[in-house]
Each structure stands twice: as structure tokens, then as C-alpha cells.
Amino acid sequence: MQNPGDLELTRRGVLMGSAAAVALTTGPFTEPAHAAAKRQEPILSTVSFTVNGKPRRLELDTRTTLLDALRDHLHVTGPKKGCDHGQCGACTVLVAGRRINACLTLAVMHEGDSVTTIEGLGLPDGLHPMQAAFVKHDGYQCGYCTPGQICSAVAVLDEIKAGIPSHASTDLTTPPQATAAELRERMSGNICRCGAYSNIVDAITEVAGRQA
């Protein structure tokens, strides 16, 4: 990586290498303890939505993400927390049929919504065709990104069917097809560090073929 040259020091960068005593807070603000603590009183709000077809009503700290509401409050732990910052896709769920990152949305913003998680697609005694295809093609290894991959894959095929274009679409005006290039681009918001990508595309391709 680059080595900051001496000339850089003439700019307004902070000289961080010096052995001076410095004070830093872990957060960006400083204020007296009691005042800081007082501002931390949680604010509760109620929200109702359905999860996998079942009506749920929760009273939650407004700060609770949809992901944490599912995992920690409803014990629906299929959606995974990989990064909590929208950088990995492990938390992918379907809301009103559209895939989203459950970590980057507040539970209270989903009043009246219908949420489908991996458990809503199928359970071990009745696998969804996409789940069965993942098993058949070994489209997973550690399993942690898998629920997100599968929810995303189901949504991807719906998006292609709905004619939504992607970065891989060569022509914006003709309907997209479930080609390997299209699937790879559309699935790119779901990271698999075990590297099952090649098998995942095989699994989705099989399901897409069956649907067509």
C-alpha cells in the first residue's frame, strides 16, 4: 500500500504517529455522565406485521431492526446477522415479496407488512424447490449465508420474470433471461465466503429451468 510521503504532512492531515498523550472517546460526542445516560432512555413503539403468514404484534425499542426483531424477539433465527451494515446479504428476507436486507430497516417501519423468511419458504420436512436444489448442488458450505442466498435466489427469479433489468442486461429494452451472467450479477449482494457461488448458480439455473 502507499507510503504517505513527507509532502503529505504539509496538508491538514493529523499527525497521528507522535507519542503525545491524546484523549479519544469511543463515540463522537462528549457530555456529562448523567446527561448522557438520561438521553439513553429507550423509546418504545408497537408494530404489527405478519411473519411467514402468522400475525405478530410487538412492542419494541424504536431502534430495533427488523432483523433483530425477528431473531431476538420472535426467535425466527433463519435470517442471519453477518455484518449488520448491508454489506453481506445474510439477513435477506422478503417483504411483500421483495427481497431486502433486514438489518438496514427498522421493525417499526413495517406496520402491516408481510415478511417471509427462509423458514417461510420451507422447513426440513418440506423443502421449497430452491432449498432442495441448493442441497442437491451443494450450494452452501458453512450454511451461514445460505438462508439469505436462498431468499435472494427466489426473489431473483421473480425479478427476472417481472422483466426488471440488471447491470448484466446487455439490452435494457428486451426482457432479461435467467442466464448465468444475469444470475451472478443479481446474486452479488449475497456474499458467500465459503465460495459456493458456482454451485449456487447451478442450483438456481435448475430451478429457473424447471419454472420456464
Partner: protein
Amino acid sequence: MRPFTYERARSPAEAAAAAARSQGAKFIAGGTNLLDLMKLEIEAPPHLIDVNGLALDTIEATPDGGLRIGALVRNTDLAADGRVRRDYGLLSRALLAGASGQLRNKATTAGNLLQRTRCPYFYDTAQPCNKRQPGSGCGAIGGFSRQHAVVGGSEACIATHPSDMAVAMRALDATVETVKPDGATRSIPIADFHRLPGDTPHIETALAPGELIVAVTLPKPVGGVQLYRKVRDRASYAFALVSVGAIVQPDGSGRVALGGVAHKPWRIEAAEAEMPRGAKAVAAQLLAGANPTPANAFKLPLVERTLGAVLAEAKG
């Protein structure tokens, strides 16, 4: 994340009024950037106004043949709109080059314009950052700056604007329509919407406190070949090192805007006069006065080469 009160607004006026009542309140729509930053306490609004119920999610034709895009139109829906795909291909392409399918399903037109930088020193609250904490310094200058701005930066900040969509909007001469807390409305040309960092990198747009974006309008289609080329290490789900949005007319004239090089979508209209003379001439004007770091100086030839490839592709 700090505690916050939460309300759902039913109309733009109600949202604006709510913003006027609560100091430091933020509007939340897609939330994909705001919540990310709130988790790190880079943003700490005491009150959130959920604007998702505002019925600003339609795309309508304007009397002069353009499009008026509701602030809440999701990136996916905007990119997929038939009129956008046909007449504003650059916009569709730019949107599809950004983020992931999941994020585009949530992210809104207005929120995309308001994205904050992805500078890692901005994101790490232990590091100096004039944008996050004015006066604390800039960690990126003299630090890890491969992703950073090469033009329009200042001694206070060399962050880039991360949006792809905004680059297209800039090339398409979009206008941002807003309503202020007092109910006043205004239209802000996209060229004036994003600011350069100067000494106040924490002030990123022309919006006043509590001012709400209600729509983005596009003038009538300008035709031409419309291309968006995003250059990045990873093939997808990554921010641009450099991006080039271009509209090229059959006579070789056209428009060019850049992403990944500045604190705002980068377009210099005067440079476009050079388009018939080729990428080198255009890039020279676009990047005049560039002040890269050793780590991101590659962006200068990269812009020229990418633009060259785009112009060649446009020629067919």
C-alpha cells in the same frame, strides 16, 4: 444507536411541520444509509420522521415531455421503468450499477442523492474526520486514500460522493424539488445540489435543515447513445473507483459526468465542447487542477481511458 422518537408522516406538509417541531430530526425513507450510520452514531437524530407513507412513489410525465420522479420511487422501480429504460438509459444503467438488488429495493431516489461518503475514516469514529466532526482533521489525507477524490477536494476533506445515480442525474440536468418546513417549495438544479467540501465538508448539499425532497424532475429526453461505465476491482456490489456517464449524439457532441473522483458528481459543461476532439481533451478539462494523492493518482489516466472506451463504444 441513540434512542429516538419515531413518527409516520402522512403528507409532505405534515413531514415538513414535524421537522420544524423537532431540532435535529431526520427523515427516513429507505434507511439503507441512515441506519447504517446511526448504528455507528455517526448520525444520531433524536427523532425520525418516516416519510414512506407520503405517496411520493410515482413517476409521471411532465408537460414539457420530461419525467417527474417521486422522491420515494425505489431504485429498482426507477431503473425498471419503461420510459426511463427507453429515454434515459443512462439513469437506468447507473442505478443498476449501484449497490445490490436488496438495497435497490429499499433505496429511494431522494435518499440516493443524500448518501454520505464511504470514506473509511468517516466511518471509524475513533479517527479524525472533518466531515463527521468538524475541526478534527482528515485521516484520509496522508492515510489510505485509494478511493478518494482527485478533483475539487480541499485541505479539509478528500471524500467522494458514492452515488452512481447522481452521476446520471447530473448528466441529465435533473432538478431537485423540495419543500421547506415553512411550506415553501423550491427547485434546485442538480448542479447546485451537491457541494464541494471546502472548509465545511460536513455541509454536503444545498438543503436547509428540515427541507424535504419531494421529487426529482428530468427534462425532456435528449436522445443520443447513453452509457454508464463503472470501474471497480470487484465485479459487482462495490463502489466506483471511477465511473463515466455519457450521452453521445450522432455528431459526436454530448455530455459527460464522472463518479468516484470528487465530493459531488463531477461535470464541467465547458469540457463537453471538447468531445469531438476525443477523450484526452475532455479529460484534461474535467480534471484540470486535479490534486490526487500518491495512492489515487491512477484515477487520472483511468478517467481518460474509461472515457475513451465509452466514446468508442458510443461510436459503435
